[in-house]
């Protein structure tokens, strides 16, 4: 190679640039790790079994991705500094390629991503996608413009004799889904109008609610608590306000709630005051 291999990059300023760049990169990445991770819809702070599987898989893919990113960006910076044109540079050797290298760097990355990404993914995918267990607690979730409603087949509303249905959502508030904590829940999702998507990140990733489809999947909250979510598929002007609060309760508390709800006792929404959302505008 005619360009000097051992020539040092211009000292000081080049080192500073490279160092700054690396710092920036690390800062960007680390920025996600610092700060409050206990935010309501943090996909990386799971409180449900499904979300935990999803987080773990993501980490498995993310760390190699970050390493590759740092390596590639670093290599770019090093290349730019080391080989940038100086006066009186000779024309570099006109290397056309290296077949062995090409084959190598096609096969090796394939193996790596299949190993790190493909193989670990499949068992989790099949587990998350299996039918809910026979004894899972069933709830029917219906999306409409612009609120979620829930029906509990196992809880009979004493007033109607039909399965208990959630009350209409007060505008600005979240729809409340009550579930027993620590137990597998079978959600069946549908929509009566346009596509919606039911996403409560700390329990499980989102799934779509489609008119004409019954989309069934399982979730499970680790422990009692209140978990936030919202519609994740553009559905119109009220899309940003289609909020969800999942209230997971101990079996005792859940049974007590169910009894009260079935009897028609009015309960104050537990999720607190109104969440301000922008005006929906002229609509249509």
């Amino acid at each position: 190679m005619t360009v000097s291999k051992l020539r040092l990059p211009r000292p000081r300023s080049a080192h500073i640039v490279a160092g700054l760049f690396l710092l920036l990169l690390i800062a960007l990445v680390a920025s996600g790790c610092i700060g409050d991770t206990d935010t309501p819809q943090n996909t990386l702070a799971p409180e449900g079994e499904v979300a935990r599987h999803q987080r773990n898989l993501f980490m498995l893919a993310m760390w190699p991705a970050l390493v590759v990113m740092v390596l590639v960006e670093g290599a770019i910076v090093v290349t730019l500094l080391r080989f940038r044109r100086r006066k009186n540079d000779a024309i570099p050797k006109q290397t056309h390629g290296n077949t062995l290298l090409e084959i190598g760097w096609t096969i090796v990355p394939t193996l790596i991503i299949v190993a790190f990404v493909g193989v670990p993914m499949l068992p989790v995918l099949f587990d998350l996608g299996r039918d809910p267990k026979a004894d899972a607690f069933p709830i029917e979730v219906t999306g409409q413009r612009f609120q979620w409603s829930f029906k509990y087949p196992n809880i009979k509303d004493v007033r109607t004799g039909e399965p208990l249905e959630s009350p209409p959502v007060v505008p600005g508030h979240a729809a409340e889904l009550h579930i027993p904590a620590g137990k597998e829940i079978a959600l069946t999702l549908t929509s009566v109008d346009v596509n919606h998507s039911f996403g409560v990140p700390r329990l499980a990733g989102t799934q779509d609610a489609i008119n004409g489809e019954q989309h069934r999947f399982w979730i499970k909250a680790d422990h009692p608590g209140s978990f936030a979510g919202q519609c994740r598929e553009l559905c119109g002007t009220g899309h940003a306000g289609m909020l969800i609060t999942v209230i997971a309760q101990s079996q005792e508390d859940f049974d007590a709630w169910a009894k009260e709800a079935a009897a028609g006792v009015k309960t104050v929404p537990e999720s607190g005051g109104p969440v301000a959302v922008a005006a929906t505008g002229s609509g249509g």
Partner: protein, 643 residues
């Protein structure tokens, strides 16, 4: 149908048409542009028009970002927000990246293969006029309601316009009609373009230019064109189905009659995934030209970069369900497409490695084209890596419809395609304007845009992982999203500033720029062998090609030790006596200008408007289209032979 005007029938019409043609045949004035069939002019028109749409799409983005700068900002209401976000996405995909790529196909392909024009010059002009018509038609929708009271008539279903939101029941206004018909019109332009470039590349290469001696940009143009001609029909059918559902009560996506809204998603993404490769392959082609030129080394692994491009083209058809993982298609479907999506990362990665190996050991000229090209590699890599994390199906359930996805596609489409297209501007515009862009301003543009871009879109990875959904018109406090949105908005305005710098640079350099000359960059390919700007006929003599990077081999040879050295002026390089065209120096026959492509193109927006407002207009539009087509078919393509 090569014919002569009938000599015996001198009707007034024939004379009038001939007069109009003469007016168009001048090289100056608006008529010469309106009737042009010259690929260079068409390329310039594509570029200017697409850049103007880039600015509109950019303003739309700034509006969105202003609305999201703080929770409940109250700048746009939800209805306005949805319409502007739909137009932002639709504009950037169909009215910016695709036509900017088309601009480069037009400007560069004939020059790089040593041709005088494309295979079908009038079809080429037709593509441009149809694109312009579609872009205007789409944007006119803004004004179909009462704009002055803040009511926008633009579509509001998102650029993906999913069923059943797109149905008449849930989008009763005309917005979605404008979207569907507008995109349909644009599809015609792309289709015509695709056909034209495939025939041009396969059939019009200079003698000696085998497929494996073609510049890589031409290869990417070829693969993209094949993707276009096979993907556009699928979206055309989907759009017809949507239009028929809305206008004629068909049931394609009507669940009440047994229709499945998912059919729209399948068809859209069956088109849509090849579409994203249509968006990126030309950019990859541009970068594959710039990196070797500015490293003074050939592209490392040229055959492998070609094969990766072809592989990406084929594989792009087998991954579409990764846009639909959360729709409940089942674990078997999701796993199959998960695997295929993982695998499609491999050829892309191979290209990145080849680009890096091109630079390694080179002598890097860090002018603006090179900075943007390197910026492409750096930013596209990040976008590609977030794409790999998406392919993990279960975690995609968390990422789907969040800002993590928005981050991913902006890294590949802005950090990727747009950076590469700017690289192409700095690299190739001087060939057509004759003036170099100011490099100092170019560097400022680059750094400001790089910083602004990362400031805008990197935080979106974080807000997405913190659960922020896409396409929400506002968000509440306490979600942990505030700081990231603030940073993104600051970044967006930084990008806007950098674009202003580019515009100033462009205007300044048109007047006062340094003359480009034939070969400002010590280039490797044929376009640098002709003057800047090129003459109407491109090449005085069609070159004979003996190698890949033919111009490099004209300029440089190897000494006894195999080291590259310049060819001494006047020295023999073994190719004397070649390069004379078969006309032996007599008149070069260039295709004649024509008005009919424009006339035919006008038929489409008229028909589309008629479908929305008054069916009588459909007949008028059809008549205009027929007049245009018949005139086109029956007019002679060239003037009578020169003596």
């Amino acid at each position: 149908m090569a014919t002569e005007w009938p000599q015996t029938r001198k009707t007034g019409l024939a004379d009038a048409l001939r007069g109009a043609r003469e007016m168009a045949d001048q090289h100056y004035g608006i008529w010469s542009w309106i009737a042009t069939v010259d690929h260079k002019r068409i390329g310039i028109m594509y570029g200017v028009t697409a850049f103007i749409f880039f600015l509109t799409g950019g303003v739309e983005a700034l509006l969105l970002r202003t609305q999201l700068v703080v929770p409940n900002a109250g700048v746009l209401d939800a209805d306005q927000y949805n319409r502007i976000l739909t137009m932002h996405g639709t504009t950037m995909v169909f009215l910016v990246i695709m036509p900017l790529s088309a601009a480069f196909f037009n400007l560069m392909t004939p020059l790089m293969i040593g041709a005088r024009d494309v295979a079908f010059p009038r079809l080429n002009a037709f593509s441009y006029w149809v694109f312009l018509a579609g872009g205007i038609f789409l944007n006119v929708s803004f004004f179909t309601k009462n704009v002055f009271s803040g009511e926008l008539g633009a579509p509001d279903c998102g650029w993906t316009c999913y069923s059943t939101l797109s149905s008449k029941a849930f989008s009763p206004g005309h917005g979605v009609d404008f979207w569907a018909l507008g995109v349909q019109i644009l599809g015609i332009a792309s289709l015509a373009s695709g056909f034209n470039f495939i025939v041009t590349i396969l059939n019009m290469r200079a003698p000696g230019m085998t497929l494996f001696r073609m510049p890589l940009f031409v290869w990417m143009t070829l693969v993209t064109s094949f993707l276009l001609i096979f993907a556009m029909p699928v979206i055309a059918v989907a759009l017809f189905e949507l239009i028929f559902d809305r206008l004629f009560n068909a049931n394609f996506f009507n669940p009440d009659k047994g229709g499945n809204p998912l059919l729209w998603q399948h068809m859209f993404w069956l088109f849509g995934h090849p579409e994203v490769y249509i968006l990126i392959l030309p950019a990859m082609g541009i970068v594959s030209e710039i990196l070797p030129t500015f490293s003074r080394k050939p592209l490392f692994g040229y055959p492998f970069v070609v094969f990766s491009g072809i592989a990406i083209g084929f594989m792009s058809w087998g991954v579409w369900v990764h846009h639909m993982y959360t729709t409940g298609l089942g674990t078997v479907a999701n796993s199959a497409f998960g695997i295929s999506t993982i695998l499609i990362g491999v050829p892309t990665g191979v290209k990145v490695l080849n680009w890096m190996a091109t630079m390694w050991g080179g002598s890097l000229n860090l002018k603006a084209p090179m900075m943007f090209a390197v910026g492409f590699v750096a930013m596209f890599t990040i976008g590609g890596l977030s794409g790999v994390t998406h392919s993990v199906v279960p975690s995609d359930y968390q990422q789907q419809d969040t800002y993590y996805v928005v981050a991913h596609f902006h890294y590949v489409l802005f950090g990727g395609a747009i950076f590469a297209l700017f690289a192409g501007f700095y690299y190739w515009l001087p060939k057509f304007t004759g003036k170099l862009l100011n490099d100092g301003l170019g560097q400022v543009h680059f750094w400001l845009m790089l910083i602004g871009f990362n400031l805008t879109f990197f935080p979106m990875h974080i807000s997405g992982l913190l659960g922020m959904p896409r396409r929400i018109s506002t968000y509440s406090e306490g979600q942990g999203w505030d700081i990231w949105n603030l940073l993104s908005t600051i970044g967006a305005f930084t990008i806007a500033t950098s674009i202003l710098i580019f515009i100033v640079n462009f205007i300044y350099s048109l007047r006062r720029g340094e003359a480009a000359g034939y070969d400002p960059w010590d280039g490797r390919t044929l376009e640098w062998t002709i003057p800047s700007p090129p003459p109407h006929y491109n090449f005085e003599n069609i070159p004979v090609v003996h190698a890949r990077d033919p111009f490099w081999h004209e300029k440089y040879t190897e000494d006894e030790q195999g080291r590259p050295i310049p060819v001494v002026a006047g020295a023999a390089n073994g190719h004397e006596g070649e390069g004379h065209d078969e006309h032996g120096g007599h008149g070069i026959h260039m295709p004649s200008p024509s008005y009919f492509p424009l006339i035919a193109a006008l038929g489409f927006p008229i028909m589309a408007t008629g479908l929305i407002y008054d069916y009588a207009l459909v007949a008028v539009g059809a008549a205009v289209l027929f007049v245009g087509i018949y005139g086109w078919a029956l007019e002679p393509a060239t003037e009578a032979e020169e003596a």
